[in-house]
Symmetry: C2
Subunit: 335 residues, 2 copies
DNA sequence: TTGATTTATGCAACCGGTTGCAAAAACCTC
DNA sequence: GAGGTTTTTGCAACCGGTTGCATAAATCAA
């Protein structure tokens, strides 16, 4: 079915090597030969088999794009940015959905069978076993949106979740909130744990502030809504820091149903700054996570590792900032 | 770096063919040989190179997953379903983002270079040139969420957009709306065109209903909101059929800002039934598109084509149904 | 022209597997 | 234990490319 290099060689009346070289950047071919080859290739509709060549070159240009976040809308943006970025650099994303994978090693093995040149794991928590499995397979990995120093063998690009927790408290303090709350995502998520730790640490600098902590079962609208409904059975706090925008939006919906005005009665602070956070009617004050930069940097890092496989692991941490919208009251004049 | 079949063969003390056969389902190997091979493979940490084997078997188990919908949240669900479904069947999705591709043929060529066994194009409109390019390359394609008979060469799985347009009018009529409107997505989208055609056709059966038509610039919140704001400068219709849920949500936000109660003053009907449509506070009445079934069916069709390459093209059309929520007034008693 | 140098080309081996074929081994039956 | 079957095995060629090396062709200097 497919046209092969051999057929092109025959039609062009040259050796197979000549054809191969004609398609290789910087190889030694005369202009005349190349012209003949190109004409033959065009006539036959030939395009080289990337997989066959990977056999000898050792590069497939395939990059595993691994994630378990197929429910949070921010990740659509993440996938968009990753696929475009990789494509622009001639790399091909091989998508792996970890959602119902019981044994993550299977995924690593599969990626190895397909000889991916590298892998990006887009997840706040690196599944256990991934780091050693990739390491043993000799596949460069970067954990995008991952945790700083989650494993000394993998490169990480992300935000400082602890700093986000601290920033939340500072933000609340600057607006004069005295009774605040941390509403995390699933308690097992390291991102939630780190934010909580930062949140608690910063509280020590604000002895006049009282805080409570709770967790939603997932990073989802429903989970946020339900958790807020539960919290509203007792006296609510003055402001909530939710672990994620979509969680915040769920919480807002519960507050609205309960007749509590935002931000007058209760303030809400999200995290991510997903597109939806800016929608009219939501207008969520939130901590902006620099998604675009994280993705770009992850890709740069993967590229760097392709060039230099035993590059020393590093963690790249991007600062976050508050995006002022309407779910938190304005800065108190005192500050 | 990677362990090869040859090394396993040497360690196990058998020929390379024996090792190869041990890893091939249904090949003729004695239990004793297989045991020796498996032990050696385990000791060495060997796993076969899928790309190398594809060279002789002619199958890569790679499936191109092509889309340009990286902004509509429904598509995250679509990607989730596709990746899981393909993975379950031992296929690997090679993701292609068409968003900023000027020449779609490039993507087809790339997929051919990677010898994909098939491709799924998840898009309501098949990019021009795709059908012939895939056909020429001998790659089976299914256009998921595509248009019935968009091209006689490709298989299509989707809904009947014309029927959706008709259903919208019937739904409005049954609820006694007399001044209705069609708010399409981009005018160039075939999905919008087909829905409009159905909408107009059905109007003929309802001479007492007056209708108007307009288009939003994109299938997005902002576009829907802006278009509704524009429409509100004149007297609004009693009910709008929007081309997409996210468009509807934008429209709802404009209506709310304008102080028009929904569904009392103005009704809104969406299309897709994305997760967000069911969120409290949105609660959009919408036409449900059976996404899960479309994806499953697309995968089945791809599998069928792998087994039978010159299978005669077919279109699979799934019915849609109204999901009753709160943005349309209830059925009039008369009906 | 000639000889030295540079550039282009083809040969053949190789990448990591698979598979048709013929020979070898194992199993049956009598 | 002989003879016939069936199963297992290894050899060698092949899948579609790449690449080191030796040779041939082209270019250059004198």
């Amino acid at each position: 079915m497919a046209v092969t290099l051999k057929e092109v060689a025959e039609l062009a009346g040259v050796s197979r090597s000549a054809v191969s070289r004609s398609f290789t950047e910087g190889a030694s071919v005369s202009a005349r030969t190349r012209a003949k080859v190109e004409k033959a290739a065009r006539d036959l509709g030939y395009s080289p088999n990337a997989l066959a060549s990977s056999l000898t070159t050792g590069r497939t240009k395939l990059i595993g794009l691994v994630s378990n976040n197929f429910h949070n809308p921010v990740f659509l943006e993440v996938f968009d940015l990753f696929t475009r970025g990789l494509q622009e650099r001639g790399l091909r994303p091989l998508l792996v959905n970890l959602s119902d994978e019981t044994a993550p090693e299977h995924s690593v093995r599969m990626l190895r069978q397909y000889s991916v040149d590298g892998a990006v794991v887009a997840s706040s928590t690196l599944p256990p076993g991934f780091a050693p499995a990739f390491h043993e397979a000799g596949i460069p990995v970067v954990n995008a949106f991952g945790r700083y120093a989650s494993d000394p063998r993998v490169h990480t690009v992300g935000i400082d979740n602890g700093a986000c927790g601290r920033l939340a408290v500072q933000t609340f303090a600057a607006r004069g909130y005295k009774r605040i709350a941390f509403m995390g995502g699933p308690q097992g998520a390291t991102s939630t744990q780190d934010r909580q730790a930062g949140f608690m640490a910063e509280l020590e600098a604000h002895p006049d502030i009282e805080a409570s902590v709770s967790f939603a079962g997932a990073y989802s609208f429903e989970a946020g809504r339900r958790e807020m409904q539960r919290l509203l059975q007792a006296a609510p706090a003055e402001a909530y820091f939710c672990g994620d925008d979509v969680l915040s939006i769920g919480a807002l919906s519960a507050l609205r149903d309960h007749g509590l005005s935002v931000p007058e009665k209760v303030g809400v602070l999200g995290l991510n700054d997903m597109e939806m956070a800016g929608w009219a009617g939501i207008d969520l004050t939130t901590i902006h996570q620099p998604i675009r930069q994280i993705v770009t940097s992850s890709i740069e890092l993967i590229m760097a590792m392709l060039a230099e496989p035993d590059r020393y692991p590093e963690a790249r941490v991007f600062p976050c900032r508050i995006v002022e919208r309407s779910t938190l009251r304005p800065l108190s004049k005192a500050n």
